[in-house]
């Protein structure tokens, strides 16, 4: 049952990304082009998603456990360290350069350019994973 929920959640997420315009690199870069030809549309994606996710997490706070499991599996790390900041800054550079973040990239995985992006993304993750052990 949890597998079916995971698949459904992935399908709904991909549907939302496509409907919202987040899978269009031109729209994403237009949104980030604050000092040029700014296209504010994608602000509403974040807004719409946050309205629902905030409600979801407020409901979760009042529940002892999720419907299909014994406990919630939520991140416990609260420290704001240099890894969080440098990592997020580097992610933003890649996002701005081409206009894709991981979710939209994965919706494009059936195209050649999308597959290439996802492959490069995995290499980047693996390199970061090794480096994180030292700095």
């Amino acid at each position: 049952m949890t597998s079916l929920v995971a698949l459904s959640s992935g399908i709904i997420f991909g549907l939302g990304l496509a409907v919202s315009g987040m899978t269009d690199t031109a729209k994403v870069q237009g949104f980030l082009d604050l000092f040029g030809n700014w296209v504010p549309d994608l602000m509403f994606v974040m807004g719409g998603a946050l309205i629902v996710s905030t409600i979801a997490y407020q409901i979760a706070k009042k529940q002892i456990r999720p419907v299909l499991r014994n406990s919630f599996d939520l991140p416990q790390n609260k420290t704001i360290d240099q890894k969080l900041i440098t990592g997020s800054l580097i992610f933003g550079v890649g996002w701005g350069l081409y206009g894709l973040c991981p979710g939209p990239a994965l919706t494009h995985v059936l195209s050649q350019a999308g597959l290439l992006f996802v492959a490069a993304m995995l290499v980047g993750m693996l390199v970061s994973f090794q480096i994180k052990k030292f700095i």
Partner: protein, 133 residues
């Protein structure tokens, strides 16, 4: 009207996805982490979620008539940007979905800081290097 209707609707659909994954399975819909678990631990639920992403987009393009965007085909840019995105989300423990949507939704200061960082560097990057031709 049209300019913000589809983004708002799509955003709310994304929110519904995070809601069912959280309230039914107890999991955060953070795509970079789910993709990492799929690649490194062969977790079946992570695999199904990841497979669902292109399927959902396909439904939007082929059944709902949303126009399908094509990706710019600059290979070196794709490799560089993909690498930086992967490196950054792994180092920063999350991306637009995990920090931006779920993290802010649970009022995590850590996620708010992360989101401000990648938004700021994304804006600076576009200001410096411009948009895809």
């Amino acid at each position: 009207m049209d300019a913000f209707f589809l983004p708002l609707l799509g955003g709310m659909i994304i929110g519904v996805s995070t809601l069912i994954l959280l309230l039914l399975n107890g999991k955060v819909a953070g795509i970079s982490t789910i993709f990492w678990n799929f690649c490194t631990s062969k977790n079946i639920e992570s695999a199904l979620f990841i497979i669902g992403l292109p399927l959902g987009a396909l439904i939007a393009y082929s059944i709902l008539g949303v126009s399908q965007p094509t990706l710019p085909s600059n290979t070196s840019l794709i490799l560089l940007a993909g690498f930086l995105v992967g490196f950054g989300v792994n180092r920063g423990s999350g991306c637009t979905s995990g920090h931006g949507v779920c993290g802010i939704g649970r009022f995590s200061i850590r996620s708010i800081v992360a989101t401000l960082c990648f938004m700021a560097s994304g804006i600076v990057t576009v200001a410096l290097f411009g948009v895809n031709p």
